[in-house]
Symmetry: C2
Subunit: 665 residues, 2 copies
């Protein structure tokens, strides 16, 4: 901080949230309180007044919110964000001469010091100075106070009472001298998105597998028929893999076979054919109008359609012909296909972000997003964003949000942690995570602590997926139905955003292509499937219950206040989430071993939860409906995975006892 | 990072050291390697080349040092600082197209791919492009390589060997295309000080108590006579409380009595009298010439004189008369004395850093420092810097160092942690700490971990004092001689900078003014003392030994690599320091209980220290001279505090055994 005046004595540093020295915005959703902290201090022992300044980006005037000293020179303030878009904030603080005087004066009085007339005069002088800055009315009041403090007619006791009165303090606050105020040199940004950015429940489904007759290619109409099923389960985002024409050249066959059979439909990620590219609908799914109809119909069920944008082309994509300069050309004149040497993906052409025509390329992809936005889509799952230039995403997301601030972008990047973090910093609303591969208590505790307690939570919003069309984990492969239930509960209660790839999830499909592979056998990526969603052993009803619990309990709708609790069994994990006012406390216990019953003693934070240690409290298992009376921090749980591997308890802080009834007197 | 070109794909973030987003310099000493780390990555899988750029501040050209990828996208590089003053550094990185090509090509070859001719052509093209940027000689070489790779006369094997040769790699490195290089947007600063900034051993002494006759006021001549004693103990900084004329108005008497007796000398911190102020020497100590003579004489003993600068005035200070505007005036026209209500310090006038004449005030205090620098002083202990404006210190230290970069400033601030950190960030070389009040194993471990393993170590260099004229801790009061020995060893081995206030320390003076007070009874602050430094029970010889160990063992001369080791007794603490090359490993074990013998099993990091787990190793107690054969990680120690409460072991990694001698064959 460069101070032009050597008398500006306050230091402001360590402001939070602040992502990469303010290079990137923090994240919030509409209706949330943005809590800002800073180290604020000065030399000596003077009293400081600190203000949080905030404004919507398009406004020019700051609004002020007072900050409060907590401990160790750390100050806190907050502001409510009520509008989509960007808010700016910073901090200003100054030595408050009147507050400093008042604090000292109070100590003198309390210590019974008698020679305080001179100190009263100092106070009177401060009031007189401030009155010069005051409104006419206030100025007059203040001048009279000054006179009273100086008057020999007033008793010392009366003077002391006046000098220390709240009335004087309030008006002196109003005209506090900010001549030497210091303002934090950076204006920080918080990007405010809609509530769904923080709380959403996703269902991924291949539209082509939705027909009710085996063998027939599903259509958007079939998808409409599936909506009641999806809505009943409690999902509010329905996400489709790419819905565009699929390339024919070098098309992959079943189980990723190098050569496709004539009737193989190909993978939806090999985008582009004669019929068109990323702005075209695969003809067998229906028309653009069908799509729009589906989008509208889904809305009626409280469901938003999310699309997958995969920036890559099949060799048949119109771009290849129309914009050859957007691809890397090899010395033999052919276009470079995707490779991860020695592996070759000859059916996919990557775009060249180092093309001289990069700007044209960027504009085209922006137009793809805008095209689907115009069809009513506001949620995009972006395929492999980590293999496209970072600065492209930063630009694209900002451009789209300028016009459509309600757009949500989910980054499908399974790569190194810093790359995943960077995409979130650049603007992706939500991010895929390593959740699928975190199975033990230690792994889950460590990972969730990083995601929710470290600075990462300022910009990174996890979306937990127990499975995806690419990921059938060993845990699900080997653990059967109880494993699916456990992973569902973990995803749904640990992360406020989660999703499943169905129907394979609810049908507990768990056969891998081969031992050691995470690919599904006969994967839907390469063929049309027909799923019997009405199978008796479907997890549908369990999912209904879990998602209902999420909707009814605000504690589960954010990742704040996630708290792991000790439990004396390595196979059991125990954690809670609570709302700030403790009106909703949800305690989850999961048996991570899908094969055996495990039991243990939980150790709960009775005091922070404001539970009476002398009285029992009720825990209500929202999964089974059972209610238990617990007492004190230590309580027993036992989970048989073949029945249900989890408890999701709501903690009731108050239970009735005899005194609460009329007959007790 | 604003990228003007969308093709610049590298991200550089999380650079360390970087204090407060680069607002303040990191610290180093001459001859040290400054290690710089950064997160560096790009989208996709291309290979990155990263360079650390550094230069002395007055130079305009960067020097480059290659950085290396360690793990998790973290890169490291380093540069040697060989000159006092400020060095700048930053990081630049780019996608290295040839390295990327080479990595992929190598994988193709390793996988036995046969259709690699086209890839050879891609490589040839890259070489041809680079040759356009090369020197004449290099360009010719490169063009020939290009031709060879394209030639149908050369065998594929020869082409592969050429393409992957170190020769080609080296020249392609030299002309690597940096067109889309990204440079970290901040130029960071490291402030390089002399070695004593990091490794110094202080002795605080009141010159007026140095005469060899009881009752006579000590002089600088007496101090000269004391030099051999101080040098023999191994101290290299001799620090004096203020040596200026002492005020007479409201002078404090013995034990801080409000009224001084006529012959009471007053406290040296009540600076200024008729005879002069901060640029004048108290007449009873001698003349300015005597002082300069002492400075020179001390140098002969390897000792530097450090002075105490306390920015405050007695009511008799010439400034009060000559510059009344530098003080706060009360409504009755009197000058405001120091207060911490309800306490009053009427013998001390603080300076007013909010004076309208603040700039004049700053200049005057700068002239005070420069005055003593001109007398040969280069080390200042600054009294209560936290009660003067921060921006003043930042300015003052920068101003002084511009001309005298070898000046060392020690901040005597015992206040809240963030205030102490701020002073270090602003430029104070060394800082007092909370060490005096950290006595238990847990307290010491936690505090030292914060000081040496967190970001704090980038700017904060602790100086550990077991006692000062203001601080006689309860531990020393109650623990007797073993407590003094334990605290000495802790200070001397935990911190590369430490000091004691003598002779009270070596004479184990430990009577407080009253129960519950940390003040010395009959404190030297208010009277002239006569110390019998030749007392048989003096710790002198022990101090000689400890300081000799510090001088002879480079591991103890910095705070890097401080490592706490498990020991199964809460009263014993065990830690080590080692040089980077492991040539010097010092293991310290201290019994923190000064009353009882304690024993326990240490657990040592055999593997990181590269000790053979199959063979014994020797530990040499540098305090007692004893040598022990240890084996493996677990070893027994026992410390009787009445003999010596500590071991300071040197670990010898190699001991001889039968095979090492001629007769074994």
């Amino acid at each position: 901080m460069e101070q032009s005046d050597g008398r500006a004595r306050v230091i402001i540093s360590g402001v939070k949230p602040e992502v990469d020295s303010g290079l990137f915005p923090a994240k919030a959703v509409v209706g949330e309180k943005v809590e800002v902290e800073a180290d604020i201090f000065a030399d000596g022992h003077d009293v400081i007044t600190a203000m949080l300044l905030y404004r919507k980006e398009r406004e020019t005037e700051w609004t002020e919110a007072p900050m409060e000293l907590t401990t160790n020179d750390r100050w806190k303030g907050s502001f409510l964000v009520i509008e989509l878009g960007r808010y700016l904030y910073t901090v200003t603080a100054w030595i408050d001469r009147f507050k400093s005087w008042r604090k000292d004066f109070q100590k003198r009085v309390e210590a019974g010091q008698e020679d305080i007339n001179i100190n009263l005069l100092v106070g009177a002088n401060l009031i007189a100075e401030a009155s010069g800055q005051a409104s006419k009315v206030d100025s007059k009041t203040m001048q009279e106070w000054g006179k009273t403090l100086e008057s020999s007619q007033t008793s010392q006791l009366d003077k002391v009472q006046l000098a220390l009165s709240e009335e004087v303090a309030k008006l002196m606050d109003k005209y506090s001298d900010r001549q030497f105020a210091v303002t934090y040199p950076r204006e920080l940004v918080v990007s405010v998105e809609r509530v769904k950015a923080r709380f959403s429940t996703w269902y991924e489904m291949f539209p082509r597998s939705c027909s009710n007759e085996p063998g027939r290619h599903g259509t958007f109409k079939d998808c409409e028929a599936r909506l009641p099923y999806i809505a009943a389960m409690g999902f509010d985002v329905l996400y489709f893999p790419p819905i565009h024409p699929i390339g024919r050249t070098l098309r992959k066959g079943k189980n990723n076979a190098i050569k496709a059979a004539p009737d193989d439909p190909g993978t939806p990620w090999a985008i582009g054919a004669e019929e068109g590219g990323h702005k075209t609908i695969h003809p067998q799914l229906g028309t653009l109008e069908d799509f729009r109809h589906l989008v509208d119909k889904a809305k009626e069920y409280g469901i938003e359609i999310a699309l997958d944008i995969a920036i890559q082309c099949s060799p048949d994509h119109p771009y290849v012909r129309e914009h050859p300069a957007w691809f890397v050309r090899r010395p033999d004149g052919t276009i470079q296909y995707a490779e991860n040497p020695p592996k070759k993906y000859q059916d996919i052409y990557p775009l060249n972000f180092e093309s001289e025509h990069w700007h044209e390329l960027w504009e085209e992809w922006k137009s793809v997003f805008l095209f689907w936005i115009e069809q009513g889509v506001r949620i995009f799952r972006v395929d492999n964003p980590h293999t496209k230039a970072f600065c492209f995403w930063q630009w694209l997301i900002a451009e789209v949000k300028k016009e459509y601030p309600d757009t949500i972008f989910l980054a499908e990047a399974f790569t190194r942690p810093k790359v995943m973090h960077q995409l979130a910093k650049l603007g992706f609303t939500q991010s895929y995570t390593y959740f699928a591969w975190r199975n033990t208590k230690e792994e889950l505790t460590q990972y969730l602590t990083e995601l929710t307690q470290s600075d990462v939570c300022e910009f990174y919003q996890p979306n937990f997926w127990p499975n995806t069309p690419d990921i059938l984990t060993e845990y699900l492969q080997s653990g059967g139905r109880p494993a699916f239930m456990a992973r569902l509960v973990l995803a749904a209660t640990l992360a406020s955003n989660y999703g499943i790839y169905g129907p394979p999830f609810e049908l507990c499909v768990n056969t891998p292509r081969e031992h050691g592979s995470e690919e599904y056998l006969d994967s839907e990526k390469y063929e049309i499937k027909h799923w019997d969603i009405n199978r008796a052993d479907s997890l549908k009803d369990f999912i209904v219950r879990v998602n209902q619990i999420r909707r009814e309990n605000p504690a589960l709708q954010s990742n704040q206040n996630l708290w792991f609790h000790a439990i004396d069994n390595g196979e059991l994990i125990c954690y809670s989430k609570h709302t700030e006012d403790l009106s909703n406390i949800i305690l989850t216990v999961v048996n991570l071993n899908p094969h055996y019953t495990h039991s243990g003693w939980v150790h709960l934070p009775i005091e922070p939860w404001e539970l009476d240690p002398q009285r029992p409290y009720q825990v209500h298992d929202l999964l089974s409906g059972a209610r238990y009376l617990w007492h004190g921090p230590g309580n027993y749980v036992e989970l048989n995975p073949s029945i249900c591997p989890a408890h999701i308890f709501r903690i009731h802080r108050r239970i009735r006892r005899e005194q609460d009834f009329d007959y007790y007197m």
